[in-house]
Symmetry: D3
Subunit: 241 residues, 6 copies
């Protein structure tokens, strides 16, 4: 069906990725992540309050919100002003879990909440994985500012996370699906990993067909390779490498 990937991409090739920092004046940390035509604006805000269920714990919390601008999609997507859709909530739960996996909640400077907003400016597949990759950069910068303000001594992020999708399209395993590929994928997998090559989250879905263990392992290999490149890029833009 798709003999050629857009831009002549190879099967194991990421779309061109950029991570632009400090794009929002009012957010403590922010990052505009672009994976090809998928653009997500990630911002991290820290507030000195926690939900009532966490009061008295002395610990912080990290949560995420995800939304699409109406014109981010080819067909205009209505705003979620009368309750959130399941898909959005599922994605923001995934982003929050992934970041918390590398965040020391006990050392965030007390009972504070970091909210990471991921607003999709342009959607072309892979918005949830791009969100995670960009969210980590925004969170890192926000915590650095928090440290500079004397609220913590050490950046509470003790590790890195990045994410990518893999899928089976027309019988071919592809890395980092764009919207056209994602829409017709027989199997769809999102993988979140840390810099030690460990999995933080693996979500594989047989959209049209089931999959064997061997195929699962092939998909994870491909994902690992792509995430490695993203982790490197994160370190580069933050000057950590």
């Amino acid at each position: 069906m798709f003999a050629t990937r857009i831009g002549n991409r190879k099967d194991r090739e990421l779309r061109p990725v950029t991570l632009e920092r400090a794009v929002m004046k009012n957010a403590a940390g922010s990052c505009l992540v672009k994976c090809g035509d998928t653009h997500v604006l990630c911002s991290a805000t820290i507030e000195e309050r926690v939900g009532s269920w966490r009061k008295g714990s002395g610990k912080g919390w990290l949560t995420a919100e995800y939304a699409m601008l109406p014109a981010s999609t080819a067909k205009r997507t209505p705003r979620e002003t009368k309750g959130r859709k399941g898909r959005s909530q599922e994605i923001e739960r995934l982003i929050g879990r992934s970041l918390r996996n590398v965040c020391d909640l006990s050392n965030m400077g007390g009972e504070v909440t970091m909210t990471i907003d991921c607003d999709v400016l342009q959607a072309d597949g892979g918005t949830r994985t791009a969100s995670i990759t960009g969210a980590w950069v925004a969170a890192y910068d926000a915590f650095e500012a928090w440290k500079a303000a004397g609220k913590v001594k050490v950046n509470p992020l003790f590790g890195q996370v990045a994410a990518v999708s893999v899928g089976l399209v027309d019988g071919r395993l592809l890395l980092d699906l764009d919207y056209r590929e994602d829409s017709s994928a027989e199997i769809d997998m999102n993988v979140v990993m840390n810099a030690k090559g460990e999995f933080v989250e693996v979500q594989g879905t047989g959209e049209q067909v089931p999959f064997s263990r061997a195929r699962l392992n092939d998909m994870l290999d491909m994902a690992e390779e792509g995430i490695g490149r993203l982790l490197t890029l994160q370190r580069q833009v933050l000057g950590l490498e």
Copy 2:
């Protein structure tokens, strides 16, 4: 922490499981699934209408709804009467996807919708995996009635699905977590498989720690074993074996 599992269960042992059919007079198909103290009432209803996005396609659709009775949990859970929670929507999306993976939507007798309601009567961990296992039985019976009514010639379910959880608790891999185990799991994984030993859905989450490929494979082995027993039970209660 938990030197002994409740009921002296072994690490690779399922809780006692029962699948009781035809428990609701008004539903086309229904199944009360009990996995230890987790009890879920699954019912399948077929309506001769589809959503507007599917009209004119000639195809059917299968969807799921998931809710907990307020008194199903030790601390009463408020009803979701002012909008659904993200967790509930995430679960019902998972149930729907899993069942659609083995359902021939093009041969459901036209533009009809099967709704599978999974109402948790008692919650003790693993409600989403129990729901999938029970939902398949309810759906099977509802489609048999549909066939008996002359609406289809063949039961549109061309395969079986069942699901189970696996987790790392106190450094020990355990099958089919109960609530106490699930609450303190370091890694949590839900696996949905078909009768050919293929994966339909794999959702692994490092709740507290990340996990290696080797560990992932160990967890999948354990899940596969448990699901095998559930698939057998499904066939037995339906008299297919």
Copy 3:
């Protein structure tokens, strides 16, 4: 129209009734009430908090919630996730009032709230009266546990309540209407009584025709007879008789 009632019931005959206790592990008290094909799962939960309007009063409160499982009806009933229907709220107000009539709110062990959840598993007419009859059993057991936990010295329920419907169908007075009878009833009456033969609530509605004082008294006679049997059954299942 209905020359014969289902199961050859006589006009003044209740459907077969059972009250099954302790059916939910996590609820303080619970009762599955079956009146023919009407099945309602009643659970009673006690929480140590009251609404803000009652704070500082030193008194407790008792309230009820009522809902139908989607597949409880022949045509699937959508969940009330975007606001409650008037009918549901009217029924839960009736259940709450009826139980409060025999409950010593000043001696519930302080500012605590008992919530009685009535979830209809199967609906065949008379769900609100069955709910009241079952709710009383669930509340009794929950208060006994409360007493056992040392929170009160005396069960705050100082009396019994049970309820039944009566109606005029095709010109004939019938006790305990099933759905088919209820749908075509010209007059519909719900009666709640205590064990002294006194009324707690009388709700008579001329659905199609008005009714005279004589007819009202005939209906009340019939209801009293039926309720008497239900009150006896409540005592029997609780071993109070």
Copy 4:
């Protein structure tokens, strides 16, 4: 407690009642009903449409809506802008049922809906019964206009309804309770009757104490007397007598 009723009213005496017609220019029929300090503005509107459940039936429908102006009560009542309260819905269901009992829905001029809005301008007890009494006048006038417009040959209202409350206060039976009396009533009853002396609706609630058959009959006697006077007044203001 209340040795004397306000205005030296006797136990079996109604508050001063007035029914003012045609108070709203844009409504087909309207009536401002005043029962002492309880003032309700009732308006009846006819629209040439019915709900989808009634389409194709050839019959009309009559429904009611009830709301309180925020400043109608001594303590300001918030508007119901985020969902209706159970109490409001219960009242509007009662108003609708009562009016439908005397309305020939098959002869309303086709598939039309009459909506009766009852907006409480000032609340001093008995707003639901005052609403019914006023609603009937508004509906009558709206149907007369409908007849004048050639839509029906005969006013579809084939009978009259009016309503009043009765209660036990401090051990004394009182007719037409005001707010002070209603708040401390041990038993509260609302009765709707037609002009033949028949009951359309009887709702008796033991708020604090249960009640015997004898007491029920005393309350109904008292209600019947009061309603008789209201029915006469309705005819007088409409020039039917």
Copy 5:
């Protein structure tokens, strides 16, 4: 199009206006304002609480709510029970701002909130300007009662406000548009002024055509003239003149 205004009004002539005080027994202050067939019931309530954002400020607040009775319009307007419309919120924000402009929030007797409810009983154009004119009278009376209760020494309203609309209809400038005129106005302007001839709010909208500075000034001249008469009437009904 409209050679003649209804009632033979001149272009610069107000509709007959009346301001009736103390029409609601339970409100601290109330005013039924009638501008021709536009009737709005304004009530002012004072509560000893402020929003959380204002706690600790020692200052009061004044806010407004605006709603239309369903039967106030020729075509029945549905109630806003599932969220407010933008138009209603825009109007109540305007009413609130206008009144706060002449109210000494620092001297309202502490952290108290005055809520002004404007409920439209009958709508024939100009409901927002009539609301402001009537709201001022209701607020004045409520604050007088507040003063009488010893809560403040001086009425916090240090000035008067009243409002009127002006519009260009069929090329003719008209004062105080009724609904028919308003619906076809090419330019629509609402003006709020105080008793010193100063503007509190000017809202001019080119509905169909834009407007020049000269036209703007002509409209403001006309509005000023009309508002002068309304301010005089306010003082007269309050006996301040």
Copy 6:
């Protein structure tokens, strides 16, 4: 208070303004408008449908939606997921009216709806006026694409609109207020004008003090000057000049 404006701006000076076109791949037209630190992403989408109230008219419609990203403000602004705020609705009504004033709705290529989404990425005062200025550019481009697609022969925008704010701050009239100035403004005015020097909308609010006719005219002079520069810039970026 503010002896010096930020960036040494003069009283009658606009902040640096840029209008960047075609910033969103999926929108028919888009414009990122920056007025100093206020950044708004405007996109225009055309859909071939109209609201039911407009069906059969043969005419199009133009509407707007306005929202702020949570991190656009110094203190995070929660998303409007449970109903819209009055302020947002008031702003989007203003944007819609302003654009419709220069749009030939009868010649939009039939019953089509243009939706202009204005999403505030960064807020520093004047977001509503920046939205209008940017929205016009986005709408222009979207209609050009519409024309290129053969849907219309002439761009339905027959004129230009742009907007700016003016305010009295510390007794000094200032053009194009930033957030710091806006927060302490005694008078606040938003003005929308077309390229002929005519007013499309004038909204002047005495936030703390009222204003005379002379002051109103001074403010309008200042606004006119600023808008003139914005209109020129719009033409320049579109290559119309």
